[in-house]
């Protein structure tokens, strides 16, 4: 997989959630071009070509970012804020993935310009279905400016 082919950027600190998300994507043949990053700091380094991703061509943007809200160091809201504030990255669709339906988080995310806000269900059947739906929607159904 080259940098150019990345379609889904999964930012998730929870190993289990990451595994289950990958499994769900795999199940629906959406896992070929997924890159998994483990926290907000790594995500920003990747997106802006800094730190361990120094020199990465940042014009190669993922087609969608699945962003966990609650993460150590830099949380999902902060990552979202930085992405949406920057002219180079503001058009990348961001889906906020979280465990709780906290009204304040929902409002804040939308104020920052989130493209979707999804609560991860406990049951794997539902979880898997939602991940698949999101993948199809952002990669197949939706048209994003190139």
């Amino acid at each position: 997989m080259t940098d150019k082919d990345v379609q889904i950027l999964l930012v998730e600190d929870n190993k289990a959630d990451a595994m289950l998300t990958m499994r769900a994507l795999k199940k629906h043949n959406l896992a070929n071009n997924v890159i998994h990053l483990i926290d907000g700091a790594q995500a920003l380094d990747y997106i802006f070509g800094t730190g361990e991703y120094e020199g990465r061509n940042i014009d190669n943007k993922p087609r969608v970012i699945f962003l966990d809200l609650k993460m150590p160091k830099i949380d999902g809201l902060e990552v979202l804020r930085i992405i949406k504030r920057d002219e180079r990255t503001k058009l990348i669709p961001v889906v906020m993935m979280t465990s709780s339906k906290e009204e304040a988080d929902i409002v804040e995310s939308h104020k920052l310009g989130v493209n979707s806000y999804v609560v991860k269900p406990v049951g794997f059947d539902n979880f898997s279905k939602i991940i698949a739906d999101l993948g199809f929607y952002w990669l197949v159904i939706n048209n994003t400016p190139q």
Partner: protein, 529 residues
């Protein structure tokens, strides 16, 4: 021809004869007229003579009138003169009157001043009262005024004598000079006992210094008003008083002593002390309450972050448990025996159940923060949509649902919808095992409350456990019997409490339950937690 002439002649003759007769008549008439004229002339002459006489008379009368006119003019002049004199006198009288009025006013003023002076004197002592009375009486020249003044003085004396306040006078060396009835009542000394004694008679030893200061101020012509201190009775009992002290002067204005008006304020002092005590208590209570409310607020915040953690952090591992179990089922089902499969299914079901519990707990705790937004709510509509939704989940259930009159009410639409969904879904759930499930939903008014009820003929409940009915996670049925997390009714109660309403229920095992909610027409407190 001749005949005609004859005829004419005859006619002419006849005429002539007629004329002659006429002339004769007229002559006779003329004679009569002449006689008449002669008579008239004679009459005229007579009248002329009479007129001459009358004229003479008139001339005489005129002369008389002129005389009288002249006399009248003279008289008039006299009158004018007299009038002028009168005006002069009137003017003089007005001035005199003004002077009198002024003098009267002055007298009144003086009288008023004297009354005031007398009032003071009255307070001083009986001796001076008598003199003041004499003074007033001699000053007010009129008898009526004198009577009034006497009456007034009597009244003042009575006021002093029967006043509730002790009114006492003393000389500058502290000798008691007068002592009224209240003084007797208040201190226990009669006038005979008190007069002539030193004022220290009624002052507790520890307050003696205070008296010296007072006397000094009185000596400086000061009036001391409502001075609160303690005095002592004949029986040695101390009591609180409020004293007003004014200097007494003799005729030349030299201060000779003081009058004291002493009021017993034991009772009001007692009330005041009680009030202070009560106030202190209230302040302490308030502080306690503040402390408690702060603690509660603190606890609430903690609870909030706790619920947040619960909902967020507990769901993640649960998702893992469920997800990986699912992975086991999907990937390794062939390698598992029947029991292992059942165990895995149980793990899946329980993790889902726990997820629901967490969601419900979160919903319940979130309700605490939520504010009620007040609108007119069509309960009929809410009930209809709740029933429609519930029926969708169980399309094959046969239920007899009766919807009676449902009043509109002011409230939070979403919250009230939640209430009816919870109550009606309970009714659906607990009638699940009945052959002829019956549900009735209605409302009625009581005072300024609207009461809604949801009644079913389902499993009911034992009134013995009524107090557990609305508790969070409290259930009166096992999950095997009826599924549930035990949050539904707790949410109902919380929402209705937020609307300043009440929730109660009635039930009997296997016969059914009826849940009531009352909502006020004009809910006032909406920030209830």
């Amino acid at each position: 021809m001749g005949k005609i002439i004859v005829d004419e002649l005859i006619v002419a003759n006849q005429e002539l004869a007629f004329e002659k007769r006429e002339k004769g008549k007229r002559a006779a008439e003329l004679v009569i007229a002449n006689k008449e004229l002669v008579f008239q002339n004679q009459e005229k002459e007579k009248r002329a003579e009479e007129l001459i006489i009358a004229n003479k008379e008139l001339v005489f009368q005129n002369a008389e009138k002129e005389k009288r006119t002249a006399e009248l003019i003279v008289a008039n002049k006299e009158l004018v003169f007299q009038n002028e004199e009168k005006e002069k006198r009137a003017a003089e009288l007005i001035i005199a009157n003004k002077e009198l009025v002024f003098q009267n006013e002055e007298k009144e003023k003086r009288a008023a001043e004297l009354v005031i002076a007398n009032k003071e004197l009255v307070f001083q002592n009986q001796e001076k009262e008598n003199r003041a009375a004499e003074l007033i009486i001699s000053t007010l020249a009129n008898n009526k005024e004198r009577e009034k003044a006497e009456e007034y003085l009597e009244r003042l004396a009575a006021i002093v004598e029967f006043s509730d306040d002790a009114i006492i006078s003393k000389s500058l060396d502290g000798t008691i000079k007068s002592w009224n009835k209240s003084g007797e009542k208040m201190f226990g000394y009669t006038a005979e006992e008190a007069i002539g004694k030193n004022i220290s008679l009624i002052i507790p030893p520890e307050f003696i210094d205070e008296e010296k200061k007072i006397l000094k101020r009185i000596g400086n012509d000061e009036i001391i008003e409502h001075f609160e201190t303690v005095r002592i009775k004949k029986n040695g009992k101390l009591f609180h008083v409020s004293i007003t002290i004014s200097p007494l002067k003799d005729n030349s204005g030299i201060i000779t002593g003081a009058s004291k008006i002493i009021r017993d304020i034991t009772l009001s002092k007692k009330y005041e002390e009680q009030l202070i005590e009560i106030n202190k208590d209230l302040i302490i209570q308030n502080k306690e309450k503040e402390k408690r409310s702060m603690q509660l607020e603190e606890a609430n915040k903690e609870l909030e972050s706790f619920t947040y953690s619960v909902s967020h952090d507990l769901r993640a591992p649960l998702r893992a448990i469920n997800g990986f179990t699912q992975v086991m089922v999907e990937d390794y089902i062939d390698q598992l025996d029947e029991e292992a499969r059942i165990v895995l299914e149980d793990i899946l079901a329980n993790s889902i159940k726990m997820g629901q519990l967490i969601d419900n707990l979160l919903a319940f705790s979130r309700l605490g923060k939520q504010r009620v937004s007040l609108v007119q709510v069509n309960i009929k509509e809410i009930v209809a949509s709740a029933i429609a939704e519930l029926k969708k989940d169980e399309p094959n259930r046969i239920l007899h649902i009766t919807i009676k009159k449902l009043e509109e009410i002011k409230g939070d639409r979403n919250m009230l919808k939640q209430v009816f969904i919870n109550l009606i879904s309970n009714a659906f759930k607990y009638t699940g095992k009945k052959q002829d499930a019956e549900i009735e939903i209605g409302s009625y008014r009581e005072n300024d409350q609207c009461i809604y009820y949801v009644k079913d003929n389902g499993a009911g409940f034992d009134m013995q456990y009524y107090d557990k009915l609305f508790g969070v996670f409290q259930r009166l049925h096992s999950s095997n019997e009826f599924e549930g997390t035990g949050v539904g009714l707790a949410i109902v109660q919380r929402i209705i409490a937020k609307h300043s309403g009440k929730v109660w229920a009635d039930g009997k095992v296997n016969e059914g339950a009826c849940f009531f909610i009352s909502l006020p027409d004009f809910p006032d407190e909406f920030d209830k937690q």
